[in-house]
């Protein structure tokens, strides 16, 4: 299985390098192969990791059950986005002119876009597999640099503004996270001596003897720093702009995978801090950031008029739920958090893909201008409505199940008030998310307006369908091996 671990790290990098040089058609094929093969290979690890706990490859990689959950989320979104992008780059501009800029015949937009997309996917994959806190930081910093350039690729006023805000704020956040990493190194020198490696197992093995003051500061800085990338309030300000102005495939990768990978980095610090400081402080920090993020996002979705911006605030909401869930002591809540990572990846990919298809076809993402979507896009329209219902936490989709588990875990571990606050805020977000978006989707076009029923691309609709099916499966019946993996990851996170 070591070979599989190494093999997962290769396709994205190779595809990134190849896509830059080859014609657009070949770049699309290479990207689809890289995305799908990464996902299939990561699925091949589920059963062995659920059985034996982890698979290490050399000194660099160590895929354990916690990391594998995030690896699956990342490769899944990467694979879907690769397929979606193949259609997105091929389909013509929409009726309203809504299409990426510079995508005409002979343009290098496609190959460059796909090169960036592959490198973005690759960096996220590496982040979830490396066995070292410092290299995890480097991988996440690479995601920032590559994705900021991708955000700017449409070369509009909005994308230029969003990209600048993103690269600046996220880089500053990661600067704080780097400082946290160095402080944690210092905390370990009292136990391991002046020279040692920042591997997870080493840190976890000695964490109970680390200097508590230093770990406390390092942990808070890590949550603040990586929380900037995760979109936690109040360091979330780049997120709505970047998600709404980026090309749609990039929005899906940012929201469905990158936020989760940043959360994964926080969980690694959480594991260490819990061993040094005990359960109280690390959980309180997550709870504080989580409640603030959820409250802010739940109120913000009520005021949104742009579909992609609405989905961006929904991402902040879900990151808040993850942080709150991780602060609950009960293992069932952690299982819910990890399931939510997977379900959110599926739901948000579907929703962003839908927003991208609408923009391609109708040339707008303004909710006030969207009419007759279900009529004009016979597949995308209904699937987008279902995805939004799924994002809102309605059964039978995976997010209903995961949020139920989180609330159950909160109530069973003495977190009655946080669980109650979570339920109230999720209901507020539900109202904001479903009211404006479903109204825009389901309102028919004005009478006399000619309606042409067509999808911009079959590949774009197919990626949405696959994501939606996965979202439903996660809600109805989590496959056995995956269920064992989630339980094992929850136990690993809570191990003393």
């Amino acid at each position: 299985m070591e070979e599989v671990v190494v093999a997962i790290a290769l396709p994205g990098l190779l595809a990134g390098l190849v896509s830059w040089w080859v014609p657009a058609r070949a770049a699309k094929a290479v990207t689809v192969v890289a995305g799908v093969s990464s996902f299939v290979l990561s699925l091949a690890l589920v059963s062995p990791v659920a059985r034996q706990g982890y698979i290490a490859a050399g000194g660099l990689f160590r895929v354990d059950s916690l990391g594998l959950v995030f690896l699956i989320a990342s490769t899944f979104v990467y694979a879907l986005t690769a397929v979606f992008s193949a259609g997105y780059l091929s389909s013509p501009a929409g009726e309203g002119g809504g299409a990426f800029k510079g995508g005409g015949a002979g343009s290098r937009y496609g190959p460059r876009f796909l090169a960036g997309l592959n490198l973005f996917g690759w960096a996220m994959i590496v982040a979830t597999m490396v066995n070292n806190l410092a290299i995890l930081w480097i991988a996440i910093e690479v995601t920032t640099i590559v994705s900021a350039l991708l955000v700017s690729m449409d070369d509009t006023d909005g994308s230029a503004e969003a990209a600048w805000k993103y690269v600046l704020i996220a880089s500053l956040g990661l600067g704080i996270a780097l400082f946290a990493t160095i402080l944690l190194y210092d905390a370990g020198t009292g136990v391991f001596g002046p020279v040692y490696s920042l591997t997870f197992m080493k840190l976890l093995s000695g964490a109970h003897r680390f200097a508590p003051e230093t770990v406390r500061l390092a942990y808070v800085l890590a949550v603040l720093g990586f929380g900037t990338k995760m979109g936690l309030f109040p360091v979330h300000t780049w997120l709505p702009d970047a998600h709404s102005e980026a090309p749609t495939p990039v929005s899906a990768m940012l929201s469905g995978a990158l936020l989760a990978v940043s959360f994964y980095a926080i969980l690694r610090y959480f594991q260490i801090a819990e061993r040094t400081l005990g359960a109280g402080f690390p959980r309180e920090v997550l709870l504080g950031f989580g409640v603030a993020s959820l409250a802010f996002a739940a109120l913000s979705v009520l005021a949104q008029r742009d579909l992609k911006r609405l989905l961006a605030y929904s991402s902040i909401e879900h990151m808040g739920i993850l942080a709150i869930g991780a602060s609950f002591a009960a293992p069932v809540a952690i299982v819910g958090v990890l399931l939510q990572v997977l379900a959110h990846a599926a739901a948000k990919s579907t929703a962003f893909f839908g927003a991208g298809s609408i923009w391609k076809r109708l040339g707008t993402k303004e909710l006030g201008q969207l009419r007759g979507v279900v009529g004009a896009l016979p597949w995308t329209g209904p699937m987008l409505v279902l995805a939004i219902l799924g994002l809102s936490g309605l059964p039978p989709f995976g997010i209903f199940r995961s949020e139920f588990l989180i609330v159950d875990g909160g109530l069973s571990s003495g977190g009655d008030w946080p669980a109650a606050i979570l339920v109230v805020l999720v209901v507020v977000a539900f109202l904001g998310l479903t009211w404006s978006s479903t109204k825009a989707m389901l309102t028919p076009a004005p009478e006399g307006t000619p309606v042409v029923r067509a999808e911009p691309s079959g590949l774009m609709a197919a990626s949405m369908l696959v994501a939606l099916v996965v979202l439903a499966v996660l809600g109805v019946h989590v496959p056995g091996d995956l269920s064992h993996l989630l339980a094992r990851a929850a136990a690993e996170l809570r191990a003393p």
Binding site: A134, I135, I138, E141, V142, T144, I145, A148, L149, S152, D155, T156, D157, G158, A160, E161, A162, A163, W164, K165, V167, L168, S171, L172, G175, L178, F179, I182, L183, Y185, D186, A187, T189, G190, P194, V195, S197, L198, A211, E213, T214, L217, P240, D241, S244, E245, S300, A303, Q304, R305, R309
Partner: protein
């Protein structure tokens, strides 16, 4: 009992750390962007020299490697990339700040004091530098944030980020001087890639707005 006098090494280290902070204050008030870039190069040079001094006095050979890479990237390449970018778009600007210079410096001083006492009180295990240097590094990191927040042009904001990285480098020398050099090198390489991305996005910003000022990027709200 009289407190022990600081050693010459401790004195040099303290002076270097304070120079890093003072250079950042100078960046904060520097009216011209090119001066700001040169101040950043000077600040990076101070951090590099400090790495050499620490390496020489404590026989840490890895710090020589770090100093060499740091010199090449932060003293030469990064300023060169930014200056070339400024030259290619034929732009410089003066006085881009959201509050007056005096107010800006007062905010920076207050922030420095906070950073100094917050981080200076932390216990440090393996320090080869005087403990006060960690406080100064903390102050430098926070002042870099002030630079990013209060200067309203893309170059100053980028320089603020790079200056923050110098503050983190200084802190790293205090608390983790024996951090494996491969990681230090990776961090610095990462900085170089970030600089290229920043330069590209600064050019994109200028291309769309015909200015380096960030006061025009207020379209995305809500």
């Amino acid at each position: 009992m009289m407190p022990a006098s600081p050693t010459p090494f401790a004195g040099v280290a303290d002076v270097a750390a304070v120079l890093v902070l003072l250079t950042e204050m100078a960046m904060l008030r520097a009216p011209m962007l090119r001066s700001q870039v040169r101040l950043y190069a000077f600040q990076s040079l101070v951090v590099t020299v400090l790495a050499v001094v620490v390496g020489a006095t404590h026989h840490l050979d890895t710090l020589y490697v770090l100093a060499a890479i740091s010199f090449l990237l932060k003293v030469v390449l990064v300023p060169l990339i930014i200056l070339r970018m400024l030259g290619s778009i034929d732009a410089d600007m003066a006085g881009s700040h959201s509050v007056g210079v005096a107010t800006m410096l007062l905010i920076a001083v207050a922030t420095s004091v906070f950073g100094f006492f917050t981080l200076g009180s932390l216990p440090v295990h393996e320090s080869v530098l005087p403990g006060a240097a960690l406080g100064v590094a903390g102050a430098a990191i926070l002042v870099a944030f002030v630079l990013v927040v209060l200067r309203t042009d893309v170059v100053s904001q980028a320089i603020g980020f790079f200056a923050m990285e110098n503050g983190v480098s200084l802190a790293s020398m205090v608390v983790a001087p024996k951090l494996p050099v491969i990681l230090d090198a990776a961090f610095l390489f990462d900085l170089l890639v970030a600089v290229v991305a920043f330069a590209v996005l600064m050019r994109v910003h200028h291309g769309r707005n015909r200015t380096l000022s960030t006061s025009v990027i207020d379209r995305l709200k809500g």
